[in-house]
């Protein structure tokens, strides 16, 4: 079976200038400044904030993977997109209902109606970068980002795609702010993270050195189950990424500085873990989401994803 590696990462997160900012949060106890990401995308009909953030992060990840700006071309039929989001589209739907109830909804223009569904982000990312392979949108609660990484690996392993752009995104809008408020949460992400997952053979053929390998995935009832099975795989885990309630002393908790990250969390964790491995760190990375630490009433499972230094070199030897 083909193995899946990570060849590029990208970010568009309010208050974060780049991956190094996230890595530095591991040691420094500083708050994230609140400057919002200013989007300078060309005007396109109905493009919502989540889509704008996702396009910027996906573009960065593709460039990092050597696909844009004069690099290798993405073969569209074998290039897929997997988006993870829990809140995209809800604000547009609620705005429409406001218009219905106030009697102000009218005929839409020749460009068509606005998108009220969560798959809008995948649509724009696929269109912008001409990704003509499978297009998936995961709306799977707090574990959705790591689940998206799993499905990207599946698409590669089953040869439905050779390159997969994975995006985790959550916008900060009025409706989303009120939804977070249901749980009494007062801080949440406004941003997107993106990862390019590729078959190891494809990366090797174009002479690109992979930055990390997606080496394991577990979806189980509790965090303890995930830890048991991940540790039994054998690798020395040098970095744990989990939120504070996972009960892992020393784990790097991105939500402590960024607030609730919801569907973007798992992809953000993979951006951090990949960058850490890419800087020559020894040991594997285990990212954990969900379980008892999840968004209070959304606790259907705990998920773990293991990243490690890739086994494949540019010569293709194991």
């Amino acid at each position: 079976m083909r193995s899946a590696v990570i060849t590029g990462v990208g970010l568009a997160v309010t208050g974060v200038r780049g991956v190094q900012d996230l890595l530095s949060m591991r040691s420094r106890d500083s708050d994230v400044p609140a400057e919002p990401v200013v989007l300078h995308t060309r005007p396109t009909r109905n493009r919502d904030r989540a889509s704008g953030l996702a396009l910027r992060a996906a573009g960065s990840a593709l460039r990092h993977a050597g696909f844009l700006g004069g690099g290798s071309a993405v073969r569209g039929e074998l290039a897929a997109v997997v988006v993870s989001t829990n809140f995209t589209g809800l604000d547009v739907a609620c705005a429409c209902v406001d218009e219905v109830r106030s009697g102000s909804i009218g005929e839409y223009g020749p460009a068509g109606p606005p998108y009220t569904t969560s798959d809008v982000v995948a649509h724009w990312v696929a269109a912008e970068y001409r990704l003509r392979g499978p297009s998936l949108t995961l709306c799977n609660g707090p574990t959705s980002g790591l689940d998206a990484m799993y499905w990207a690996r599946c698409l590669v392993e089953t040869a439905r795609a050779t390159v997969v752009v994975v995006v985790g995104v959550e916008p900060d809008t009025t409706v989303v702010a009120r939804l977070h408020g249901i749980d009494g949460v007062c801080r949440w992400l406004d941003g997107a993270a993106a990862v390019v997952v590729e078959s190891a053979e494809h990366a090797d053929r174009r002479g690109f050195v992979a930055r990390a390998e997606v080496a394991g995935y577990w979806r189980m009832a509790e965090v303890a189950d995930v830890l048991r099975d991940a540790r039994s795989l054998g690798p020395d885990i040098g970095m744990y990424l989990a939120d504070g309630q996972a009960g892992l002393p020393g784990a790097f908790d991105l939500t402590r500085r960024l607030g609730r990250c919801s569907g973007a969390l798992g992809v953000l964790q993979c951006v951090v873990g990949t960058s850490w491995l890419d800087q020559g760190a020894s040991g594997a990375v285990l990212a954990i989401a969900g379980g008892t630490s999840a968004e209070q009433t959304c606790n259907d499972a705990a998920v773990g994803l293991l990243l490690r230094t890739p086994r494949w070199s540019v010569t293709g030897a194991l």
């Binding site: 068509g112 109606p113 998936l136 609660g141 409706v175 259907d300």
Partner: protein, 375 residues
């Protein structure tokens, strides 16, 4: 390789289980109902009559139907429903968005757990491996394709594939059917390309590795293709849809001559209907008159993200009963459908061995499945 369908379940506007829906379609019973209130252009809707009035008791309907169809499909397959340890893949367009609308506009109670189908699936079935794919109108066939991948790659011997959608107020307002019923009939040359039939429903199938189920397969999935137009517009792309059909045949190792029945997507928009028919004209160019063609969306009530899976379930019923349901009255067929054996107005008795199921989402997310009768 093929995959056994060992259990089916469905809820639609015209029936509470798969065989009842099939029978209703064959007798021409549609799910069209009068709409309450005057907020919309059309007086009609395809709304499931489960006692809930629009706006009152609406919250949580998609989740409720999802659990019902999963339970029905598991029971049909002879699988214990109390501790489901296989993956459950859910395809949807609107998720539990209707509950969010009611929370926003009417201050009805809501928890974030209620937005996530996984919460209910864990509670009802003990499932810890559920995934929700919000993939537009191709969502359920996308889930089917991914389920075949999970079994083929050895990650599971059984996967439940499900779909559910309750109509939202925002979608009803934006994609309102036209008042004139004739103009809302697919393959009619009077369709407005910016009007899209919307409705609600749920469906589920239990998919198992060949020969591993405790009960005989009701049918077999031979292959599912998945792709994306990657175009800026909302209309379908002829090249992508043609590719999706050909890829499905290749994955299933069948030729177009082997296809006895096509369950059309039938979006109800003239542009997309022309494109689907043009793609079929290309793929089936060497066969005159080609396969029978029908759809469940117009008569049975379109089911948004579940349309593909409901079409598949109806194809299984057609294979078992020998009756292919009609798509409903179509007095103005578009030119591209002229050479095809459209099943309209009344059912056709036919020996269907292999069926093609189409599902094409807005914005260009495409899936095509090939299903074979169980021997």
């Amino acid at each position: 390789m093929s995959w056994d369908i060992t259990g089916i379940g469905a809820v639609a506007v015209n029936g509470w289980n798969a065989m009842d829906i099939h029978a209703a379609l064959c007798t021409g019973l549609t799910g069209r109902r009068s709409r309450e209130g005057d907020r919309y252009r059309s007086p009609h809707t395809y709304r499931i009559d489960d006692g809930a009035r629009m706006g009152r008791g609406d919250a949580g309907r998609a989740t409720k139907w999802l659990c019902e169809v999963v339970d029905s499909a598991l029971a049909d397959a002879g699988v214990d429903t109390t501790a489901v340890d296989c993956p459950i893949l859910v395809g949807t367009t609107m998720r539990e968005q209707r509950s969010v609308e009611l929370w926003w506009i009417e201050q009805q109670p809501l928890t974030l757990g209620e937005l996530h189908f996984g919460t209910a699936l864990r509670k009802r079935f003990g499932a810890t491996r559920s995934y929700t794919f919000a993939n537009g109108r191709a969502a359920s066939l996308y889930s089917l394709g991914l389920a075949t991948d999970l079994i083929e790659s050895g990650q599971s011997d059984m996967v439940v594939v499900a779909s559910t959608d309750a109509i939202t107020e925002s979608a009803a307002a934006l994609f309102d059917p036209l008042p004139d019923p004739a103009r809302a009939t697919p393959w009619s040359d009077r369709c407005d390309h910016r009007r899209i039939l919307s409705g609600e429903g749920a469906a589920a199938v239990v998919l198992q590795r060949e020969g591993t189920g405790s009960r005989c397969a009701r049918a077999k999935v031979r292959g599912v293709s998945l792709n994306c137009d990657a175009s800026q517009g909302m209309a379908s792309d002829l090249r992508s849809i043609t590719d999706a059909m050909r890829q499905a045949h290749a994955r299933a190792r069948v030729s177009s001559a082997d296809i006895d029945l096509v369950m059309l997507h039938g979006s109800g928009t003239d542009l997309d209907e022309h494109i689907e028919m043009s793609a079929l004209s290309t793929v089936f160019a060497d066969h005159d008159p080609g396969p029978l063609m029908t759809a469940v969306r117009p008569g049975g009530g379109p089911a948004l993200g579940g349309s593909g899976l409901l079409s598949l379930v109806m194809a299984v019923c057609a294979m078992e009963t020998g009756a292919v349901p009609p798509e409903g009255g179509n007095s103005h067929p578009i030119a591209e459908s002229a050479g095809f054996l459209m099943v309209s107005r009344k059912p056709v008795i036919a020996d269907v061995a292999v069926a093609q199921i189409d599902a094409f989402g807005l914005g260009g997310v495409n899936a095509v499945a090939i299903v074979e009768r169980s021997r």
